[in-house]
Structure formats: C-alpha cells, structure tokens
C-alpha cells in the first residue's frame, strides 16, 4: 500500500471514529434539553377528562416515572442495540417511522440540489463572464433575492401561480389521492418505476417540481454568489490571460479553464447545502404538505414525542456526518495537506 493511500485510510477511519463521541454528546444534549423543556408528553396522550390515576398510569407505561439517569441509561443501551424505541403517540417503531419519511426528504433535497446547482452555477458563471453588462447587475439582484426571500412565501407564490391560477402543476402532497405506490425502497419515484406504475410516477414527479424549485431557488443564492466570485477571480488569473493570448476560444476558456477550476469549493458548498436541506426543508414541506422529515420533526417536538425527536436527531447527525465525511475525503484526496 502506498503511503498516500494508507494516510487517506487512516484519515477516513479516524473521522469515522470521531462520529461516535459526537453522537454521544449530541444524544445526551438532546435527551437533557427535551426533559428540561416545559411540557409533559403524557398530556398529549391522555384525554382532557382523564383523572390523575390515568395520567400516572400512562406516565408509568412510558417509563417517565423512572429517574432521569435510569431513562438515559436504558435509552443509550437501546441505541447501542440499534433500538431507537417507540413513538409515544403512534406506538410505532421509531426506525420504521423515519424509514417512511426520510426517503421523501432525500428525494426532495436531491431535486432541490439539482435546481440549486443548475440555477446557481449557470447564472453565477454567466454573470461573471458578463460582469460589466446588465446581466451582472440582474444576477446580483437575483442572487440576493434568492438568498433573502422567505421560503414559504416563494412557495405560496409558485403554488398560486402554477397550481391555482394556471393549473399546470399540482399544489400539494406527494401523490394524487386516487393513486398509491407499492413500497419497495421507500423512494416513491423509484418504487413507482420499479413497479411500472407510470401514472403514479408522472404524478409524483410533477408534485416534486414546485417544492424543488422553492427549495433549490433558496439555496441557489449562495451557490450563485460563490460561483460568480470564483469564476470572476479565475478569469483574471495569469493562466486565463495566457490561454487568451494563445487564441483559445472564449467558450473553452470559460468552461474548461475558469469554471472547472472554480468548481471545487462550489461542490463543497453544494454538499454542505444538501445536508442543510435534509434537515431544513421543513418550511417547504409545510407549504406543500409533504410528509417528510422536517414536518415529522416539528410535529414530534410539539407533541413532546421524546423517542421520535431523539431518533430523528440521531439520523440527521449520522446523515450530516456522512455527507461531510464524503466531502472531507474528496478534499483530502485532492489536497494531501489536509491529511497531515
């Protein structure tokens, strides 16, 4: 094994090992914060007419009458066994609840990422190329709007225009109420394709368009700005001037020289934003009534469904760790100084 690849392997292993204490600290914090917060989950389960004995009995059934440290130890033991517990409200296994909601958010975040990458990189690059024209000014305004505009407001505008006014796209949900998709992988689009349910596939894809644009447009502001400044910087580098002097076509200079060299930090930013979209798509999910992880987390926090909130946080932490690890590995591979 070469020293380069063994160094990289060591780096990867150490990063994976670091995830364990990070998860432990996070879990402890979430566990404590949830219990310190005012609000008793029992009141979301028992009826308003329930007497004290029913309240106490429910508390006992949920194990909430045990000392906090005992609840903590038993929860941690469960987590190490891969058991995240059961939801207080639906009594369903936390893994299976997350398993139903996470693929929807992954699909939405992936589509949002494509929209963000397409809008951000294309507009940013072109604006850098035409920085002194009206398009440069327009792009600055556009990227600022994308960055600062409230997501829910933009989503509602798209909804009113395309779903209610022109009726060319659906307004809400992930599937028409008359259709259903047999669950195989959990990803609705993929499952519809596997089962050959083209009607459901088209319906589902159409339903992803407006939320993806909403989410992607918001993220594109960042990508646009970074692409713009990096391409602009690259276009003034000596190697670009040298290329121009050699008579290379402007299109080739822009895409092969300037853009290619500017893309690495942009891709990193896209990766980070993907992680952010996984956990931060709640507003988009609310506007478009998409049953993803964001709305699941918000609902479970409001209901003080401790096992579900903790489970979602663990999954988020794992996902974000994996995404950042992949980005770091790519970086480490490209730039050996990081491994030192």
């Amino acid at each position: 094994m070469s020293s380069k690849s063994s160094g990289l392997l060591f780096y990867i292993v150490s990063r994976i090992l670091l995830i364990i204490p990070m998860l432990l600290i996070l879990l402890t914090l979430i566990f404590i914060i949830l219990r310190v917060l005012p609000g008793d989950p029992v009141y979301f389960i028992v009826s308003p007419q329930a007497g004290e004995h029913i309240i106490e009995q429910t508390r006992h059934e949920l194990g909430l009458d045990r000392p906090i440290w005992e609840q903590y130890v038993s929860y941690l033991m469960g987590v190490f066994r891969g058991d995240l517990g059961k939801s207080y409200i639906t009594k369903d296994n936390v893994w299976s609840i997350i398993g139903r909601h996470l693929p929807i958010t992954i699909e939405l975040a992936t589509c949002g990422l494509f929209v963000a990458a397409f809008l951000g990189i294309s507009f940013g690059t072109f604006a850098a190329y035409k920085s002194k024209s009206w398009f440069g000014v327009f792009n600055t305004i556009l990227s600022t709007i994308a960055y600062t505009m409230p997501v829910f407001w933009f989503g509602m505008i798209l909804q009113i225009l395309f779903a209610i006014q022109f009726r060319v796209l659906p307004a809400t949900g992930i599937l028409d109420t008359s259709l259903s998709i047999t669950r195989i992988t959990g990803l609705p689009a993929l499952d519809a394709l596997i089962t050959g349910n083209m009607r459901a596939f088209v319906d589902h894809v159409a339903r992803l368009i407006l939320p993806s644009i909403t989410l992607g447009f918001f993220i594109s502001g960042n990508i646009n700005r970074m692409t713009h400044s990096n391409v602009l910087k690259a276009l003034n580098e000596d190697y670009v001037r040298a290329a121009r002097a050699r008579g290379i076509k402007e299109r080739v200079i822009l895409f092969k020289y300037a853009l290619k060299n500017s893309l690495i930090p942009v891709i990193t930013l896209l990766g980070m934003n993907f992680a952010r979209m996984l956990s931060g798509s709640v507003l988009t999910e609310t506007v478009f009534s998409i049953p993803g992880m964001g709305s699941l987390l918000v609902n479970s926090i409001f209901r003080r469904d401790y096992p579900l909130v903790q489970g979602i946080i663990v999954v988020y932490a794992l996902l974000i760790s994996i995404v950042t690890l992949i980005i770091d590995i790519i970086y480490a591979y490209i730039d050996p100084r990081i491994r030192l």
Binding site: G39, D40, T90, A171, T286
Partner: protein
C-alpha cells in the same frame, strides 16, 4: 456537434415531460374516489385509546356499535343490537344482537365478540372511569348479551354508541393490541386499506356491509399542514371537500372561498370556548370580580370581528343543538361590570391587574385576536388592566393543571351529545379540580348532578340541568364565550353531505358526479 445533439435531445425530453404532465393533469380524475382534506388526521384507530374528535369521527365510519344514533336528530337507533330491554329496576339490560354480520377480516360478530370489546374498554378504555357503573357483562347465547349496572344510568346507550366500537377479537388475538392502531377491522361501512401517519388514510367501501352500502367506493382523508395549504389544494382541484369542524380553516379563508362561488354548508359544531377561573387565586376568589368580567366581555365583537360571523355567541356551557341548552349568562353590560368592580374595591386609582393566558399553538392563530378583543373589552371598564400571555401548546395544559394561571381561555369538545357532558366535568368538585384546577365547589350543584345521572326520567333530567345552568351563571366559575361552527366546502360535483349538530361526519352518504 455531438454536444448540440445532446442539448436538443435534453430539450425534447424536457418539453415532452412538461407536455405529458400537462395532459395528465387536464384529464379528469376517476370519479369513484372522494378526497376530504383537513388539517388533522387520526393518530390511531383503536377505540379504547380514543379521546379526540378526529379519531371518534373516523371510527364511526369503520366500526359499528351495539346501538347507534341518527346523525341529524341524535336519537338512539339499533346498531349491532336489533333491540334491547331493561329490567324493572333499570340495572340489567338485555341486548338482542344482529345475526350474519362479519368483521372486515371475516370473523363473525356475536355476543362473545361484543363482550370481548365491552370488557376490553372497561379494562383499558380512555374514558373507563366514566363506565364504572357497568359491573358485569354476560353472554346468554350467541346473539344475546346482558349488561349489569351498579345503579340505573341514563348514559349507558350513549356510552355504548360512542365509546365501544366493535373490533374483531381475532385480529387482536393474532396481531396484538397495537396492530389495530393502523390496521383496524370493524364491521362498519368502510375498511381501512392504507394508513400513512400524518398524511392520509384511505377507506374502501365494505361491499358486504349489513346495512345500506356506501354511495361511494373510496374515501381518502388527506391531512394538510395548515389552513393555507389546505385551501391551496382545494382550489387546485386536488381535493373534493374541505371539512373544517373546529376552526381548522381560518375565517378569512372561508369567506374567500365563499366569494369564489364554492358550495359552503355550515352548521353548529359542538365545540364550546370559554374562560376558566382559578377560584383559589386572588382576585378570582371574589365572585363579584368574576361576574364583572362576565358582564364586560363582548361576545358579539368576538364572533363578528375575529370569526367574521362564523361562530355563535354562547351564554351557557351546554352547546346549542344539545337538549337542555338554556341561556343563563348575562349579555354585555358595562355599567353592571363597573358597579361590581367598585363593590369589590377597585377604582381608577387602583386598577385591577390581571393576566389572561391562552395558547395559539393549541387553538390556532385566531386565539391571539380573541385574547386582544377580551383585553379591550375588560379595559373598557376603566378599572381593569389586562396582560396577555400566549403559552406553547406543550406546556399550556401542564401549567393550568398545576394551578399556575388565574384566568385562561379553553375549549371543550365532548363526544357525547348530552348536557351531562358539558356540566358534570365543570361542576363536580373532584372533576373541576382534576381537569381544570378551577377549585369550583358547590355541594348543591354536585347533588343535582348525581340526581340527573341516576334517573331515566328525561323531563326530570332536563329540569335538573336547567337548574345547574342557573347556578353556573350565579357562581361564574367559567364564562362561556362562543360556539364554533363547522364547514363543509365542496365543489359542484359533491352532494349528499349529512350534517350532524355534534360535528361528526358520516362518509357513506356522499356522492360524486
């Protein structure tokens, strides 16, 4: 060249997809499916766990009960029991059960299945404390059942018709208790074929239903995150009916849809809203102060300004549409309010300072406007200064039960259409304290409540409940404010919606063109 070809192909694919989606969406949807949108869907479908209106409502569509009630008149009618009789002293009830009925899983319904469900409810049911009067359930033969009571109880038939939905015993024995939360099997007009939590529940008509089969084949109950997305989905043609039973749709949204020409059916909902006082706290331990507040609140303003007329003013705790309802609380009278406050020692130099607690995350955004209107009403006396305190849903109930509030806004949605459901929990000293922490204790009222619960004489019961409502207006431990209306908003394609005064929605009568 090759890049140009790729670009053209990509463009053709994109245009093709867009055209495909457009054609797809301009096609009419299969008429057999009726979709109903709401901001809530049930969190489970097991009758023993049910406490909320969303669960009760859906259960009425998938389960049957020994006795049932007509949605419009609320009269008790035969259900899975075709007839029944009572012993002379009123403590033994014999039910004769319907034959040839099967659960959705194929199990036969009989007296053992009925006993299984009643026993299960008495052991685990959410409202089991109210059914302690049932002492024994005996299977006489396959289709005869006897229920023994500790004393005559006028609510037995109501309890059987609402709390104890008949679930297939086989299903519970084979798959366990939690399974029926999402995979119920009753004998009712609909079977649950898909349950996606926090998203949708799909019901299919039970073709073997023993009574008149549903007029539609499939119902989809779809949940939306909030009033805005529910309205957007309806306007985009994605759902056929919006059912707003408890102020789910914001008043201005209802008005907007009315202006746009959609069909709106409105009726009273049995949900009441009121102020609760903690009589153990100063200044609410003084009846004059509570009465002064009752005189100062302006229900007309709340109903017109906040709800655009989509609610009814309420002057007693028993909802309109429920027998025994009698207006007993005074209408607004500022002079009377000021006089009472002066008697209690309050004047402009020494204003009465109070805090009104409310929870907009519990009852919706309109709650903030209601609180503001009440503040203005009370401050109009010139003798009261009100601080408003909005409390998060998760802590609201915990804090008022802990006795931390002196005056707060609350709602009540009893499942049983009987005045007892509106008065007992508020006026029985143990219940009033356990549920509301109101510290209300009136022995005369408690004695009247007990009398009303131990007789089958309807005239006597009516008299007793009217007396109780008079006592409430004298003692003012609570101030009834308004009663919500329910709305069904539909497209022209929908007909046959049956409205019930207690805001339950039976799906089997709905038709779609």
């Amino acid at each position: 060249m090759s890049k140009n070809v790729i670009a053209v192909v990509v463009l053709i694919v994109i245009v093709g997809v867009v055209i495909g989606i457009y054609i797809y969406y301009t096609q009419p949807k299969p008429p057999a499916v009726i979709s109903i949108g709401s901001v809530r869907v049930p969190t489970h479908l097991d009758p023993v766990k049910t406490t909320g209106a969303d669960e009760f409502n859906l259960e009425f569509n998938i389960y049957d009960y020994l006795v049932e009630w007509e949605p419009e008149t609320l009269n008790v009618v035969p259900g899975l029991a075709t007839s029944w009789e009572t012993s002379e002293n009123g403590t033994v009830w014999t039910f004769y059960l319907r034959q040839g009925v099967k659960f959705h899983d194929g199990t036969s319904f009989n007296a053992s299945a009925a006993k299984f469900n009643i026993d299960r409810y008495i052991e685990k049911g959410a409202f089991r404390s109210g059914l302690k009067y049932i002492t024994n359930v005996i299977v006489v033969d396959d289709y005869t059942l006897k229920i023994y009571l500790s004393h005559p109880h006028p609510l037995l038939l109501r309890h059987l018709s609402i709390f104890i939905g008949m679930v297939s015993p086989t299903l519970i024995e084979v798959y366990g208790e939690d399974y029926i939360d999402t995979h119920p099997a009753g004998t009712g007009p609909y079977k649950v074929i898909e349950y996606v939590e926090d998203d949708r529940i799909v019901l299919e008509a039970n073709k073997d239903y023993w009574d008149t089969p549903p007029k539609n084949s499939k119902i989809v109950l779809k949940k939306y995150a909030d009033s805005a997305s529910l309205k957007a989905a309806f306007e985009a043609g994605e759902i056929d009916i919006i059912w707003s039973a408890r102020g789910d749709l914001f008043p201005t949204d209802v008005e907007d849809l009315r202006k746009k020409g959609y069909n709106i059916i409105e009726s009273e909902s049995n949900m009441i809203r009121y102020i609760v006082f903690n009589e153990a706290q100063y200044p609410f331990n003084d009846t004059r102060v509570r009465k002064a507040i009752a005189y100062a609140v302006n229900r007309t303003k709340i109903v017109n300004v906040v709800f655009s007329g989509q609610a009814s003013e309420l002057y007693t705790l028993v909802a309109k549409g429920i027998w025994g309802h009698l207006d007993t609380f005074p209408h607004r009278n500022l002079t009377e309010a000021i006089s009472l406050l002066n008697d209690a020692g309050h004047n402009t130099a020494q204003k009465l300072e109070i805090t009104l607690y409310y929870s907009s995350s519990y009852y919706g955004t309109a709650e903030e406007y209601v609180a503001q209107v009440i503040k203005e009403d009370l401050e109009e006396t010139g003798l009261i200064s009100v601080t408003l305190q909005n409390v998060e849903k998760a802590t609201f109930r915990e804090q008022y039960k802990a006795g931390q509030y002196g005056m707060w806004l609350l709602g009540w949605f009893p499942p049983i259409p009987d005045p007892n459901s509106y008065l007992y929990y508020f006026m029985n000293p143990i219940m009033a304290n356990a549920i509301f922490s109101s510290h209300y204790n009136n022995t005369e009222a408690d004695s009247l409540l007990s009398q009303a619960l131990s007789t089958y004489n309807q005239t006597l019961r009516q008299e007793l409940y009217e007396q109780l409502q008079q006592i409430l207006a004298e003692d003012v431990p609570y101030i009834p404010l308004w009663q919500l209306k329910q709305f069904f908003i539909t497209t022209d394609k929908i007909s046959g919606i049956q409205v019930s005064p207690i805001a339950y929605f039976y799906f089997h009568t709905i038709e779609k063109k």
